[in-house]
């Protein structure tokens, strides 16, 4: 009796998923198009994958982005886990509202606000201490860490909240120090969430245009600002090829992660 209406359900989900996936399918299909127009089909070809392989500018910015993304994801997981643990386990402390507001602000604040405010801080810092000098690797990294920490904190704090507290309490009763309990009990229990948070931070960092553009200097153009400057004026088929490879990589990772998680859940049951 409480079951939903089948026709309406099929309609809502069918249309909704078509809306979400049709653009992605178009992107992939036209990456194999022979014509450079990229909007009308003129035969199957791997031409754009070849051009992508020979595009030194795009490849070097991709390499730069991969390094920055790996480093910012790692730092974001460390800081975000700490921040999430504080949010989940420390109860209400003085300044809690400000803490909660600050930690979740980058989730919703327009990225231009984060980008410009960090840039102005680095400029002022440079004026005061003569550091960090030219904008580049470090400044982009710091900006992306700030963005990713917000996402990591949300993931980790909800995971820690779901944990059975009795395990940690038992260890404390047996005389383990709180730090040891965190590393020996809590951390292994939330390991899958840490992995998911790292991957999400990694893809968010790769994808970011706005913060990276504000915080990058001459000679340091990460992948997304490079792609953005190419496609803001129209279609670039080699970007379709890059997108297809990216979607393939992300899709594989997410599906494998999902499978592993499902298997673990079944084992627990």
């Amino acid at each position: 009796m409480t079951g939903p209406n089948r026709t309406l359900r099929a309609l809502a989900l069918g249309l909704g998923f078509a809306f979400l996936y049709l653009p992605i399918i178009c992107l992939v299909v036209f990456s194999f198009n022979a014509s450079s127009l990229a909007t009308s089909w003129s035969g199957f070809s791997l031409r754009w994958y070849g051009e992508l392989w020979n595009d030194k500018v795009l490849l070097s910015s991709a390499w730069l982005s991969l390094r920055i993304a790996a480093l910012s994801a790692t730092a974001a997981v460390v800081i975000g886990t700490w921040a999430g643990y504080v949010l989940a386990r420390m109860g209400r402390f003085r300044g809690f509202s400000l803490y909660l507001g600050m930690v979740s602000a980058p989730l919703v604040l327009p990225e231009v606000v984060i980008g410009v405010s960090l840039l102005l801080m680095f400029v002022e810092m440079d004026g005061l201490f003569g550091w960090p000098g030219e904008r580049g690797f470090f400044t982009i990294w710091a900006g992306l860490v700030l963005l990713c920490v917000a996402y990591v904190t949300v993931i980790i704090q909800s995971r820690i909240r779901d944990l059975d507290r009795s395990l940690e309490e038992a260890a404390l009763d047996l005389g383990a120090s709180p730090v040891k309990v965190f590393f020996v009990i809590t951390l292994p229990l939330i390991a899958p969430a840490l992995g998911a948070a790292w991957l999400l931070s990694f893809t968010l960092s790769l994808d970011d245009v706005v913060i990276s553009s504000f915080l990058s200097g001459p000679g340091f153009t990460p992948l997304s600002p490079e792609i953005f400057s190419r496609v803001r004026l129209g279609i670039k088929p080699e970007v379709n090829a890059l997108a297809t490879l990216f979607i393939l990589a992300v899709g594989t990772c997410v599906v494998i992660a999902h499978r592993v998680q499902r298997r673990k859940e079944k084992e627990l049951q």
Partner: protein
């Protein structure tokens, strides 16, 4: 002696709280206060391209607050129009995300658990693939010689291509597309926890399905709707990438105008003033978002007790 020393030592709890707190203050609060400061500076030729507020001279500290940016922002019709337009676009985007996202979240939450996980993965997957590339996909679809127009021409629905690319309509499509998962996910998390016995009780008492929905499901899902709506509305107001890629030259949005002042005109004080006004405009929605988060956390806390 030993006891007295211990009193000065911060507790383990303080030691745990202070580092992330300090990091957030340094990288979020301080930078924003600097934006506030520079919004009162004046344009200067050099590095950095703005004046400092306090000058030492004649044995006095001269504090000069320039309000040029703010005066322009509240008198120049271009800026006022930009604000209104940004809020309008964000509101319409949020409305359509609700309209499209609510049924999707609702039916996913009501599916059998095995199917539910798969459908949820389907919503999360685009979220993981690059937003920039997904917005770029719409360029290929909406252009005059794009996939949509080619399809409609071939079907004979239209005789000449529709002008969608580089209009406000394209911006709406792109924004709704990009932000839809942000609305679905928090709403789903809320709907999936709904106690189905409430609905059964309503049916037993003779309620029709739509009555049960309007009087039970909808009111109980309000926190999820608010959280999702804020996750869509707040970033939409300052969105830069989507209007730049899909919108026309006259699609005025704050993020775009600020970007222009900063990079094209190198007018940093003006860009800072726009940023300050943008954040002030977002304070109420931000507070709403925080409130919904605190409530969600408290509900979890009560649930575990």
């Amino acid at each position: 002696m030993k006891l007295a020393w211990r009193e000065f030592r911060p507790s383990a709890r303080t030691l745990a709280i202070v580092p992330p707190y300090a990091w957030l203050v340094l990288f979020l609060l301080v930078p924003f206060l600097l934006v506030l400061k520079i919004s009162f500076a004046d344009l200067k030729f050099g590095v950095p391209p703005y004046t400092s507020l306090a000058e030492f001279g004649d044995e006095a500290v001269n504090l000069t607050l320039h309000v040029r940016g703010y005066v322009l922002l509240f008198t120049d019709s271009l800026y006022i129009e930009t604000y209104l337009n940004s809020v309008k676009i964000a509101l319409i985007t949020t409305f359509y995300c609700m309209l499209i996202g609510y049924p999707i979240a609702y039916y996913i939450a009501r599916s059998a658990p095995a199917v539910r996980n798969l459908l949820l993965l389907g919503v999360i997957l685009p979220f993981w693939t690059s937003l920039l590339l997904r917005v770029y996909a719409w360029v290929g679809i909406l252009r005059n010689d794009g996939v949509l127009n080619n399809l409609l021409l071939w079907l004979g629905v239209i005789d000449s291509p529709l002008e969608i690319y580089r209009t406000d309509l394209a911006v709406y499509i792109g924004m709704i597309y990009a932000y839809l998962p942000f609305f679905i996910l928090p709403l789903y998390a809320n709907l999936v926890k709904l106690d189905l016995r409430l609905l059964e009780a309503a049916y037993d008492l003779g309620a029709r399905p739509w009555q049960a929905f309007l009087r039970i499901t909808l009111p109980l899902s309000r926190p999820g709707v608010i959280a999702g709506a804020m996750l869509v509305f707040i970033p939409s107001v300052g969105e830069y990438v989507i209007p730049e890629m899909l919108g026309g030259a006259n699609t005025l949005m704050m993020g775009r105008v600020m970007w222009g002042e900063f990079f094209t005109n190198t007018d940093w004080p003006m860009a800072a003033s726009i940023t300050v006004v943008m954040v002030l405009l977002l304070l109420v929605p931000l507070a709403l978002f925080q409130y919904s988060q605190v409530r969600a956390m408290e509900q979890v806390r009560e649930g575990t007790r």
